[in-house]
């Protein structure tokens, strides 16, 4: 019961935060230099036509009225037409967002799982060679520069060895073929996804490993670990049933915190690998003054981060009864 109330409260909080972001973005876009109309106005257009366009767009209205329209448009899913694509922005987002979620959810799950597993193990064998070497490796991974490692992978595995496609998410020939089933298409995406996934995995696994390791080392000093040993449990059971479940908690927190950063890094990854995701679209929209698209990208990225944080909170409450009860 308490659990539901907690989650409910978090959702309310997140909605309030999202509303603040919504408002903040509106203000930022109005403060930012550059005139959205100038892009649409053709050089040959008369001043009359230009001012008509401005009033059509509602840009001559007072700011508060524009804001109300903006909020209304958001809740009705109307994000306007992309300047560049000439299509409704919501359609573009609808195509790009799932690609980003696919790539990042997979990479977060894989790197967190591997980091937790190895962190747990090396903490258990603290001071032995396996601990030293894995910890050094994790530190190296943690400090690698993402675009560099991404380009390096493309250069080696895609360009020289040729195991993976150079970029993109699909091979058009495979998808055009009418006989291609779901599995063939999924395998094609998987093949394209491996290199960006590997890049993100290497960048993130180190930090999860280090957090899990130090959290596990703290946990192993706790009195209840002594209790578990005194009870005559096997060492494996002490490690996996008593130490690890308590050590997971900081890792879960850090997943929540790192999500925002991983989406940032994601824009880089998506750009380097030409992955048709929302991060790459955002960079494109910003550099092309495509205001409606950029605004929608910002909003949806923040929405994804907020939703992911709610999920992390649920997970945390599930793992730690002190929160739940």
């Amino acid at each position: 019961m308490h659990f539901r109330k907690l989650i409910f409260r978090r959702i309310i909080e997140v909605m309030a935060i999202f509303f603040l972001i919504l408002t903040g973005l509106f203000l930022l876009f109005h403060l930012s230099p550059g005139d959205p109309v100038s892009r649409m106005v053709q050089p040959g257009m008369s001043a009359e036509d230009a001012s008509m366009l401005i009033s059509q767009l509602g840009l001559d209205q007072p700011l508060w009225l524009q804001y109300l329209y903006y909020v209304k448009n958001f809740f009705t899913g109307n994000f306007g037409i992309s300047f560049h694509y000439g299509q409704p922005v919501i359609h573009i987002i609808g195509r790009r967002l799932p690609n980003t979620i696919l790539l990042f959810t997979t990479s977060v799950i894989l790197s967190a799982a591997a980091g937790v597993f190895w962190g747990k193990l090396v903490a258990w064998y603290k001071g032995r060679p396996i601990d030293t070497w894995v910890t050094i490796l994790a530190l190296v991974c943690h400090t690698l520069f993402l675009p560099w490692i991404a380009l390096l992978f493309i250069w080696i595995f895609a360009y020289h060895v040729g195991w993976f496609p150079l970029n993109g998410m699909i091979t058009p020939e495979v998808w055009i073929n009418p006989s291609a089933g779901f599995l063939t298409k999924a395998a094609d995406i998987g093949h394209h996804m491996l290199l960006p996934l590997l890049t993100l995995f290497i960048i993130h696994v180190g930090s999860y490993l280090l957090i899990m390791r130090s959290s596990m080392l703290e946990t192993l000093k706790e009195d209840y670990i002594l209790t578990a040993r005194a009870k005559g449990l096997s060492e494996k059971r002490v490690r996996n049933r008593h130490a690890a479940p308590n050590a997971y908690l900081p890792v879960v927190t850090s997943i929540g915190l790192s999500l925002a950063f991983s989406i940032n890094g994601g824009a880089l990854t998506e750009t380097v690998f030409s992955w048709p995701g929302i991060g790459r679209e955002l960079i494109f929209a910003v550099s092309n003054n495509d205001y409606p698209l950029a605004l929608a990208c910002f909003l949806f990225i923040s929405l994804v981060v907020l939703v992911a944080n709610v999920i992390v909170d649920v997970l945390y409450a599930y793992l730690d009864p002190r929160i739940r009860y």
Binding site: Y224, A228, K231, L233, S234, P321
Partner: protein, 321 residues
């Protein structure tokens, strides 16, 4: 042969700078159904001693020499898997910090069940739960609280639940390490009475570790006073409590607050509160020589010898006849 025989047990901790002796040539034996209290100030080695019996010393601690024989088994040379079967099934422990002795993310009942089912894999869950219910009745916690989480218990309840868990596998020996230190005096008294009654009823041997000589005197048949890693005085409760011989024991007793709220000075010459001096411990000489008001030239030059006051009362002091 006694249930537990500790012979010449010397325990050390390896640190960066040195190897520090935490317990030095400790000897004692304990019969089934008897209880011995180990009293001493913080850092005197009493907890280390208890941990060493279960082979649960921290990773830098090790037994330097000596033997621990429990029910005919040489505990110190037992293979790990056999030692795991001795733990809790034969020797259980009541921990110093009951607050933190429970895994916070598991239900108390599940943790007790785990102890029962680890040592008796054939028992069904329903039977094991029934056992836990009986244990809860014994320690007077309502049965509907069994499957609560640790943070839902009060401090006293956690401590009583620890006692319930210690009894779960009907051990022959319980090591109680400061079981009541963190509790208020009323709860403390309840818990002590409980431990005493259960120990008597189930005929369990008990090692009771505490810094509070009054508490120990209330629970134990025998008392050992420990100072800087050495047992300095050992005897039956009445002997040590009524006729303390070692100057340290007397100092310890004189700093013990009586019911009237005044210090009862038993030895007017050693009112100094016991504390561990900073000087390094000379391995052989009496550890109390720096603070002892009676210390003579002999104390500073010769190691103290064990003297028998009565057949059951011994003291490690050069001054005592």
């Amino acid at each position: 042969m006694a249930l537990l025989e500790v012979e010449n047990l010397t325990i050390a901790y390896k640190t960066r700078r040195e190897t520090a002796i935490a317990a030095d040539r400790v000897n004692f034996s304990l019969e089934r159904g008897r209880s011995v209290g180990i009293v001493g100030e913080s850092g005197c080695g009493k907890t280390t001693l208890g941990m060493a019996l279960l082979r649960l010393l921290p990773s830098n601690g090790f037994v330097k020499k000596g033997r621990v024989t429990f029910d005919g088994m040489d505990l110190l040379s037992l293979p790990d898997t056999r030692m795991q079967r001795v733990r809790w099934k034969r020797i259980a422990m009541i921990f110093q910090a009951a607050m933190n002795a429970w895994n916070p993310v598991q239900r108390i009942g599940d943790q007790i069940l785990e102890a029962i089912r680890t040592h008796d894999p054939k028992i069904t869950k329903a039977e094991a739960v029934k056992q836990v219910e009986q244990l809860y009745e014994l320690v007077e916690i309502p049965a509907d609280r069994i499957f609560d989480f640790p943070h839902q218990y009060s401090g006293g309840m956690k401590q009583r639940a620890i006692i319930a868990m210690a009894l779960a596998c009907s051990p022959d020996l319980i090591i109680a390490d400061e079981p009541t230190t963190a509790l208020d005096v009323i709860v403390q008294d309840q818990i002590l009475q409980k431990i005493k009654a259960i120990q008597k009823e189930k005929n369990i041997a008990l090692i009771f570790i505490s810094h509070d000589i009054g508490v120990v005197a209330g629970v134990c048949h025998e008392i050992m006073v420990m100072y800087r890693g050495k047992i300095v005085e050992a005897g039956r409760r009445e002997e040590v409590f009524e006729v303390p011989v070692h100057p340290y024991t007397r100092a310890l007793l004189s700093s013990y607050l009586t019911i009237d709220g005044v210090f009862e000075i038993r030895d007017k010459q050693s009112p100094a509160p016991p504390c561990t001096p900073a000087e390094p411990l000379s391995k052989e000489l009496c550890g109390y020589v720096h603070l002892c008001p009676h210390a003579s030239e002999a104390c500073r030059s010769r190691p103290p010898q064990w003297r028998e006051i009565t057949p059951t009362h011994k003291v490690l002091c050069s001054l005592c006849r």
